[in-house]
Amino acid sequence: MKILVVDDSATMRRIITKNLNSAGYDDITEAENGEEALGKLEGIQLILTDWNMPVMDGLTFVKTVRTMDAYKDVPIMMITSQAAKKEVIEALKNGVNDYLVKPFTAGTIAEKVKGLAE
């Protein structure tokens, strides 16, 4: 499964990628923000994106992806520090399939990704 990880923090991208590798997912593409991610969508089957990023934030990125015929059904999980209920609802309303609040454990991310991949 080809997974796109979008986060402006290199540390967080490495942690997420490491967790995905441990869970058996090896085909990972990374992007620093929503704009860069839009250029890396080809063949992507699952997207994990942060919200609070410079250039293009995660919510704008998700809204854009959902307007693209080729990617409108690709599962998207938001992995973010935005912990307010209002924000979770806003993300889900705008096309996010699942939501994970940072900090998270390796077990939680693996479980959620497995759920979305099935």
């Binding site: 307010a84 924000e87 454990t105």
Partner: protein, 163 residues
């Protein structure tokens, strides 16, 4: 500075460290800061604002502490206060400011956070957004110290309606 606005950030620091570094930090006695000088060598600063409040929170780490945190988080050692360390500190500030939102939302406050900025160097300055007192909350992570600084100002309309 009302403790009910400080506690969500303290709780977020504890939760974040427990999950990211597998250690529960011990909180020490807070105090008011009387200058802009940071107690650590690397600081991550993040601003927040809503209709009700405005302020900023900073996490400031001595080099020894942040190198220890990095090695636990990433499973590898690193030298000095390089780009990896700075990125880690910025992300920790982001997670802690975002994590406090849940408790604030139960008070009817939903704030937006800025992109974190990171400052490095001995005796660097931290300028807060609240324009009011800065409280320092020291923590010990095993034998390593780090500090959370926070400045929050309630906006006038919120004060009138909630006091």
């Amino acid at each position: 500075m009302d403790v009910k606005y400080i506690n969500p950030f303290i709780n977020s620091v504890v939760t974040t460290m427990e999950m990211m570094v597998n250690t529960s930090p011990k909180r020490l006695a807070p105090f008011l800061k009387d200058n802009n000088i940071a107690r650590g060598d690397v600081s991550g600063i993040i601003g927040f604002a809503s209709q009700e409040i405005v302020g900023s929170v900073a996490l400031t780490f001595p080099e020894k502490t942040v190198k220890k945190i990095y090695s636990v988080m990433m499973g590898e050692e690193t030298n000095g206060t390089n780009e990896d360390i700075q990125d880690t500190v910025g992300e920790l500030a982001n997670i802690i400011a975002g994590g406090a939102k849940e408790e604030f939302s139960s008070m009817g406050i939903t704030y937006h956070i800025s992109i974190p900025t990171v400052v490095v160097g001995k005796n660097h300055s931290i300028v807060h957004k609240g324009g009011t007192h800065v409280m320092v909350v020291p923590f010990k992570l095993e034998n390593n110290a780090f500090f959370m600084e926070i400045s929050i100002k309630l906006k006038n309309n919120w004060k009138k309606n909630n006091r």
